[in-house]
Symmetry: C2
Subunit: 277 residues, 2 copies
Amino acid sequence: MLVNGRWSETLPASDRGLQYGDGLFETLAVVHGRPALWDAHMARLQAGCRRLGITMPDAGTLSEEAESLARACRAGVLKVVVTRGSGGRGYAPPSDAEPTRLLSLHPYPDYPPSHWRDGVAVRVCRQRLGSQPALAGLKHLNRLEQVMARAEWDDPEIAEGLMLSQNGEVVEGTMSNLFVVSGGAAVTPPLEDAGVAGVMRGLVMERLRESGVAVREQRLNLSAVAGADEAFLTNSVIGVWPVRAFEGASMGAPIHAHRVLRELVAEGLVPAEETGP
Amino acid sequence: MLVNGRWSETLPASDRGLQYGDGLFETLAVVHGRPALWDAHMARLQAGCRRLGITMPDAGTLSEEAESLARACRAGVLKVVVTRGSGGRGYAPPSDAEPTRLLSLHPYPDYPPSHWRDGVAVRVCRQRLGSQPALAGLKHLNRLEQVMARAEWDDPEIAEGLMLSQNGEVVEGTMSNLFVVSGGAAVTPPLEDAGVAGVMRGLVMERLRESGVAVREQRLNLSAVAGADEAFLTNSVIGVWPVRAFEGASMGAPIHAHRVLRELVAEGLVPAEETGP
C-alpha cells in the first residue's frame, strides 16, 4: 500500500478519515497494467474534494503512484482513498490540514463468470439510504448504510441488494448502480438525495445513448424494476452484470447489458478473461 | 495512544473504521484521573456494537486501558474508538473480524469560562441530518454531516450550530444535545431518526426529573427554541452550556442549566476549575 507516496501498511490513528469518515475514495479496475477510466475517476475525486473542502492531491503524483502499483497487474482492483488528513479533535476541519492519500492494489474479485454471462440474483435491502443532498453522488467514506445493508444476507447465490430511499424509491445497489430497460428506453434513478454517481454509470449512459437508446434519470419504484424488460447493475470493477432474478422472479434477456459489456471488454475497461461472456 | 493495548500512533490502513467508517466512538471527560461516567459510556458502546454487529471488546481490558491513560490527568478528554477491525475489500462485514480498539487522551479544550458562566451563542446550520432510523442514536464513525455543518462558520463567538432533520425540526447541535425549558418543563428532541443519544443528555434528563422538572422528548421547531424561557446544550466533555444567544437574539437566564451544572461539578463529572461558574 502506498501512503502519501511511501510503502506502508499503516496510517496515523489521528487521521480524520478514521475519526469521522472525512474523506473520499475511488475503486478502479486494473486491466493489463492500466487503471481503467483513470481520468473519469480523478474528475469525480476532484469534484468530491471540492464539495467537502478537501485539498485535492497533486494529479500527476496520484497518476504516477497508480501506474507504479498497476504496472505489473493483469487484472485487479486499485483503490484510491483521499482523506482530509490528521488534525483537530472536533469536527471543525483544520484550515491547514494536509490530505492523506492511500493507494492499494487488490486481486480481481473471484466472482463466477456466470455473473456476467447469465446475470445475478438481486434482493431488496431493509436498510434504507438517508436523504443527504449535500453528500449525494459522492463516494465518501461514510458507508455504514452500505455495510448494514450488505450484512442483511449471506446467501452466496444473491450477488447484490437494492437500497431504497426514505420514501421507498429504488436508488442503487449496495456497491453498484441500477439500470432498467422498458420498451427500448433505459432508466436509472436520479442521485440528488442519496447514492453514488458511479463512473461506470456515467459511461454506460453514454454508451447506451451512442447506440440510439434513450436514457432517462427517473424515479423508480420496486414494481417498475420487477416489471422491466431488462435490468442490469454497473460499477467500475464489474462493468455490467445483468439481473437474472429480482426478488426470486426471472428478468428478461440481457440484450443491452451484454452489448454494453462487450464494448467495455473490447475497450479494455474491464478484464476480458474474468468478465467476457 | 493505545491501539489494541499497545502504544502506537498508527493503525492498519485496511481498518474498516477508515475504509467505511465502520465503527463507534465515545468521548469522555477525565476528572482527577477518572474517566467520568465510564459505565454509561460503556453501556452505550455495547449497545452500538450490538446494533452494528461488531464484537464488543472485553470490558475489563477497556477499563484497565482507560484507567492507565487517565490516571495522571487532572482534566482532559478520553476518546475510545472501536471499529470492526480489518478485513475484506467490500462492504460485507467479515465474520471473523477482530475489533480494533483505540484509546487516546487529549487536553481538556480551552473553551473560555464564560461558555459555562454566561452561556454561548448558537446558530442554525444549513447542513441537515439525514433520516437513518437504523443508525440513529449511535455515536458511529460516519460523521461527515457534522464535519460539513461545523465547516459552515469560523466565527469564534459562535460556539455551536443546531442541525435540523430533513423536515426542518431541530435534532441536536453538531457536538451536543439540546434542551429547552418552557413554562417550567424541559424538552429535548427525540432521536429515533437522527442524532446521537448523548450520555450527558441521559444524565441531565435524570437530574432534571429528580429535581421535579418534567422532561419530555418532543419534536421541536426553530420558533419553539427561540421562544423558550431557557435553552442549554449538553455533552460529556462540557457538561452543560447555557445558550446565551440564539441566532443573534438573547435567551432567558440559565436557571436550570446552572443548577444541573453545579451538580455535575460537585459530583466530579466535569472538571471544576475549567467549568465552575
